[in-house]
């Protein structure tokens, strides 16, 4: 990576940061600081705007660089991974989006607390939402650090550390100044940039092979050194039965976890009606689906044009496959075209990270202020505006994420994204589905289902090979590994559902018929929705 690349990429980074800061200032110019405004952007976004924002919130750098890198290195198994991210949206569309829009106000806990005793339920759902957000956030921060170091060639620890601090500071500014309105516009801009960049590269790859997908696959397979094995599953997730069960576990977590991600749920509150929420999900499925289809072309394109050896040589996980492909498609390392395309890809990846972290920070500040602080503050304590608390919470979460990001800087945190999905699927999804669909669900069932999914998921990860007992662990020196799988979803998701059922049937209080009727009527008709 020469100096020209760096300069141009830095200019584009700075342009994006300037534009997003401009957006933040513009939308906060005459804000009135209500909770409605801060958490939900006034609920006035159109379905198309929200659809783009959802796509911008969801497609992380792990998708853009990680999945195409996986395909470039392991062929089909990268595609296998991306399918889960898309199919998950059917759960969101069918079971969650409209109903949550109709019965909630700002957070997941709103939907559950409407039927139950509010305090314990809010504390439980708030805790699990913040846990999911922090796990996801740390993965993004560490990813940002190593990504910028990779793309800009600055491999020094200081460059990485400053990137983590810079990303953290920017996301706190976006969220605390501009709230949901600024976050949404940043996500829309990012989604447009990401789709534009991906479409351009895909067209270039297909043009290179004269539109012959078959030829692309054949060249990729030949160059990979694996032959036809490159086009079938098994290079990464095959082998031992542990590895296979691990992938099944990850696949379940991806499909069921998306509907429990707090930053995705909070996006449905930014549109006026349930019908608009549905239409925004349809938009986002179109965008996300076509994006993942294009990453397949990019991944195989990188394998065919750059070659797995060059990709692996630059970054063992394959994260630089797309930037290298861009360089190659533009005409090579010393050409103007290559330099420009490379810089664009680097800037898009950076924009992607900023938009995703802003969304997560906003959602977790809502969980802290709207759920946890509201339930835990002393009744006689000083009254503070909820939005002020949320702003402070955003800064606190930013500091926490920066701290954890710096600590985890040199660790292998790739498992954190899968873990965040697993916790969301184990702790958030069961309580949400039970509240929306089960007549007899009780407060005890709700609390048990949250903790019954959250605690096993976290405990199993601590006992798994990602923490100890293998050379790639966080702590390779010690061995307290008792659970073989890296992703706890296969066990913890059923446990979350089981705990909710058990808590409900052992509950001393009878289920509240009237509250259930109210939830059901409101969820399906939108009566009384805010």
């Amino acid at each position: 990576m020469t100096g020209t690349h760096q300069t141009l990429a830095l200019v584009l980074f700075s342009a994006f940061v300037a534009v997003t800061l401009g957006i933040t200032t513009w939308v906060s110019r005459n804000r009135h600081g209500s909770a409605e405004e801060f958490y939900a952007g006034g609920r006035l976004f159109s379905p198309m705007e929200n659809g783009f924002a959802i796509a911008g919130d969801y497609m992380s750098a792990a998708s853009f660089l990680g999945i195409s890198g996986l395909i470039a290195l392991f062929g089909y198994d990268g595609l296998l991974y991306s399918v889960g991210f898309l199919v998950a949206w059917l759960v969101v569309l069918f079971l969650v989006a409209e109903l949550v829009r109709n019965c909630g106000r700002f957070t997941l806990a709103d939907v559950v607390a409407a039927r139950m005793r509010e305090r314990p339920v809010r504390i439980a759902a708030g805790t699990s939402s913040v846990t999911v957000s922090v796990l996801y956030l740390v993965a993004q921060m560490v990813g940002a650090g190593s990504l910028v170091a990779l793309l800009l060639g600055g491999t020094s620890g200081a460059a990485q550390a400053w990137t983590v601090v810079g990303v953290g500071a920017l996301m706190v500014i976006y969220v605390s100044m501009g709230g949901m309105r600024a976050t949404t516009w940043i996500q829309i801009v990012k989604a447009v940039l990401l789709m534009g960049g991906t479409i351009a590269l895909t067209v270039l790859v297909l043009a290179h092979f004269h539109g012959d997908f078959n030829q692309l696959l054949r060249t990729a397979a030949a160059r990979s050194g694996h032959g036809s094995d490159f086009l079938v599953p098994g290079l990464k997730y095959g082998g031992s039965w542990t590895a296979r069960f691990d992938f099944i576990s990850l696949g379940l977590a991806l499909v069921l976890g998306t509907a429990g991600l707090p930053h995705i749920l909070s996006r449905f509150y930014t549109v006026p009606t349930a019908r608009a929420a549905r239409r925004s999900v349809v938009w986002s499925i179109g965008l996300i689906g076509s994006f993942y289809l294009m990453t397949i072309v990019l991944g195989f394109g990188a394998a065919a044009l750059v070659g797995p050896d060059a990709v692996r040589g630059s970054n063992a996980a394959g994260n630089t496959a797309v930037p290298l492909l861009a360089l190659d498609l533009g005409g090579g390392a010393d050409s103007t075209g290559g330099t420009v395309l490379f810089a664009i890809v680097a800037a898009v990846a950076f924009a992607t990270i900023l938009a995703v972290v802003a969304g997560i920070t906003l959602a977790s500040s809502a969980s802290v202020a709207h759920d946890l602080y509201a339930s835990l503050r002393r009744p006689g304590g000083k009254q503070r505006s909820e939005v002020a608390v949320a702003r402070v919470a955003a800064a606190g979460i930013g500091v926490l994420a920066i701290g954890l990001g710096l600590l985890a800087r040199d660790l292998n945190v790739a498992f954190l994204v899968g873990l965040a999905f697993a916790v969301a699927a184990s702790a958030n999804l069961p309580v949400l589905l039970y509240s929306l669909f089960w007549r007899n669900f009780t407060t005890r069932g709700a609390v048990w289902s949250v903790y019954g999914g959250l605690l096993p998921a976290l405990a199993l990860v601590v006992l798994s090979p990602v923490v100890s007992g293998s050379p790639t662990s966080l702590f390779p020196g010690v061995d307290f590994q008792y659970f073989p799988l890296e992703n706890p979803g296969l066990v913890s998701i059923p446990l979350g559902f089981l705990a909710g059922w058990l808590g409900t049937v052992t509950s001393p209080e009878p289920p509240d018929e009237a509250k259930h009727a109210e939830t059901e009527v409101r969820a399906l008709t939108g009566a009384g929705a805010v």
Partner: protein, 186 residues
Amino acid sequence: MEKHDGRETAQPRTGDRGGAGDPWYDALASGWGELDGTGAPAPAVPAQSVPRERSAAGVYLEVQRSAAFQEVRGRYRRFVVPAVAIFFAWYVAYVVAATSAPDLMARQVAGSVNVAMVAGLGQFASTFLLTWLYARHARLRRDRPALELRWDTQEMTRGIADSTRMNGSARPHGAGRVRGSEGGQW
């Protein structure tokens, strides 16, 4: 907007609705301590100011038992339950086959395209298809009766104690801003 936000703030913050406090209108659930627009602290509204001949809970139970609501719920469930079963089974089958039946997945279909590739792209195709079917079903079969139920329910809860906020938000926020086909009806 401002007016609406102000009304939302003006809610009873104390649990004067007894143990059966309705969480939707509960102080905790709403923007507690909000000092927006109006800037005035929320006044306490005595709950017993309106006679409770017919409670909000009663209204919802009545609506839930009505034939019109049962029809809407039935239409939703008759689409969603089989659809969820189909895509979930198809996805699990795909993941299990990919991890445990490599020979099946490696079978050639045409050129370099094998069963694995067809199945993977098939997941994309089925997701797009189900999305389109669901949106179409909801638009044609569910939106209109659901909207009628919504207005009827809000009409019935109007004037009932504790429903200040419900009346305040009877019209969705979007009503003030007409956008394409989104406006008017919703």
